[in-house]
Amino acid sequence: MAIQSKKNLVAIVDDDDLMRSALQGMLRSVGVASETFAAAEEFLTSGQQHQAGCLIADIRMPGMSGLELQAKLNAENCRIPIIFITAHGDEKMRMQALRAGAVEFLAKPFDAEILLESVRAALEI
């Protein structure tokens, strides 16, 4: 069984199904594989945080929020690069996320190129 290469898999965490499939389709068009999760809890129990090369997450979700997820990952010393995309992007939230180590913080609707650039940078490809 081949171990999924850490460098090439992107994890997507968003409660909105349309956004999940849109992101997955977008990444596929540039040859990047991805796995989607409907909730932060699902992602944590999957163990993917130790295998995926990058995480794209929404902030406002029922249950655990994106920022809470970030805090949990930091607590576990998990170094996965996080890119936040959110419908509610206020400056305070942006600062908080970036200070806690996020790679990028984008507001919906986002510029696909910018998102892809961030993903490429995170995966170092």
């Binding site: 956004m19 499939s21 849109a22 389709g25 977008m26 068009s29 419908a87 986002f110």
Partner: protein, 386 residues
């Protein structure tokens, strides 16, 4: 008859010279006059004049000058008018003067103490008056504060409702739109490769359709929030609702010196409707009118009128003397159209939706010479669509 005197009624204020001088002058005048009357065989003339002199001196000159007057009068009488009378008679005459002097002394003392009391009472009243004035000022300030907080409440209610509505609308619709943009971009990316992948492009395009359909569903759902089932509606007395709204907004209107008038036709039949929504419409229209009149010169009058309309409808109109309709008058009911720099642009749009969901119409017109009027109808039977 009596003595002449011209000094003021303030024994302490006048100088001593005047006061004692008064004794001399008045007794002298009494003697002079008596002398005149003697020719008419009126021996008691001096006594009468002397008593007047004594009275005047006590009253206007004070106690001590009064005593001087008594002494002088007695002397004058003794030596000028009745030099030959017996000792007993003289004593009796003197006694008359003395008794009278005593009476006068008591009278003037009573007057003086009365004056003191009057002064004290006046001071008390002035103090009470000042305190009252302070209280009134405090009361006015408290009223002003109350009015301000009422206005704030009305404003916040309005903004919160509109704000919440707008925010939730924006957020909900944003999601599928962001997804649609991503999917459309993906589709383009598949098509602009050296080797376009049509299957992938088709899938991406299909996703765009699905995303847009989701956005449309959301809008439909929000719109349906304005339509309620018949069962949730109640009987609404429109006049009572208007009066309530006038009261709620009275402080806001007063703040901008706007007069509010109600021309309500009595005994209008109640209509079936959603009270909260209709209040929202009233508040929206009335607040708009208030805003329009805030900065105008001249009359500032907001009139709400209710009357029966055609066909068992009720017709409610809100007229103002404000800046009037904007040049793009036909666009004011569009979403996001606003003439305010902090306006959401949803007010009239939502108001029209509410009225239409009740089966009525909402329209605007000019209110010459200056101002606008907004009118809406509410049919007695709800929503003919149901």
């Amino acid at each position: 008859m009596g003595t002449q005197n011209k000094s003021k009624r303030s024994p302490l204020a006048a100088s001593a010279a005047i006061r004692y001088g008064l004794a001399l002058v008045s007794v002298g005048a009494a003697a002079g006059l008596a002398q005149l009357f003697l020719d008419f065989h009126l021996p008691l003339a001096f006594t009468a004049f002397a008593l007047s002199a004594i009275a005047a001196t006590f009253w206007y000159g004070g106690t001590k000058p009064g005593i001087l007057a008594v002494v002088l009068a007695a002397l004058v009488r003794s030596y000028l008018f009745d030099p030959g009378i017996s000792g007993i008679a003289r004593v009796l005459y003197d006694l008359v003067f003395l008794v009278f002097a005593l009476l006068m002394a008591m009278l003037t003392r009573a007057r003086d103490s009365l004056e003191v009391r009057v002064k004290e009472r006046t001071a008390e009243l002035t103090r009470a008056n000042d305190e009252l004035r302070l209280e009134i000022a405090d009361r006015v300030r408290a009223e002003e504060a109350l009015r301000e907080s009422q206005a704030e409440l009305a404003r916040i209610t309005r903004v919160t409702t509109m704000g919440e509505l707008t925010a939730s609308l924006a957020h909900e619709v944003n999601q599928p739109i962001a997804a649609a943009i991503t999917d459309a971009n993906t589709c383009l990316r598949w098509l602009t490769r050296d080797q376009p992948d049509l299957e992938e492009a088709r899938e991406a395009a299909a996703r765009v359709v699905r995303d847009a359909a989701r956005a449309s569903d959301i809008i439909k759902r929000i719109r349906s929030l304005f339509k309620k089932e018949l069962a949730q509606r109640e009987l609404v007395d429109v006049n009572e609702m208007v009066r309530g709204m006038i009261e709620l907004l009275r402080s806001e209107a007063t703040r901008h010196t706007i007069a509010m008038r109600a021309e309500l036709t009595e005994d209008l039949p109640p209509i079936t409707g959603d009270r909260v929504q209709l209040q929202q419409v009233l508040m929206n229209l009335m607040m708009n009118s208030i805003e329009a009149m805030k900065d105008v010169q001249g009359t500032r009058e907001l009139t709400v009128k209710s009357q029966p309309g055609q066909d068992r409808e009720l017709l409610i109109s809100i007229r103002d003397t404000g800046v009037g309709l904007p040049p793009q008058a036909d666009q004011i009911f569009n979403s996001f159209f606003t003439t305010k720099h902090d306006g959401t642009g949803m007010g009239l749009r939502i108001s029209r939706s509410i009225v239409e969901s009740h089966g009525g119409r909402l329209w605007a017109a000019d209110n010459p010479p200056r101002g606008a009027s907004f009118s809406f109808t509410l049919p007695r039977k709800t929503d003919p669509h149901e």
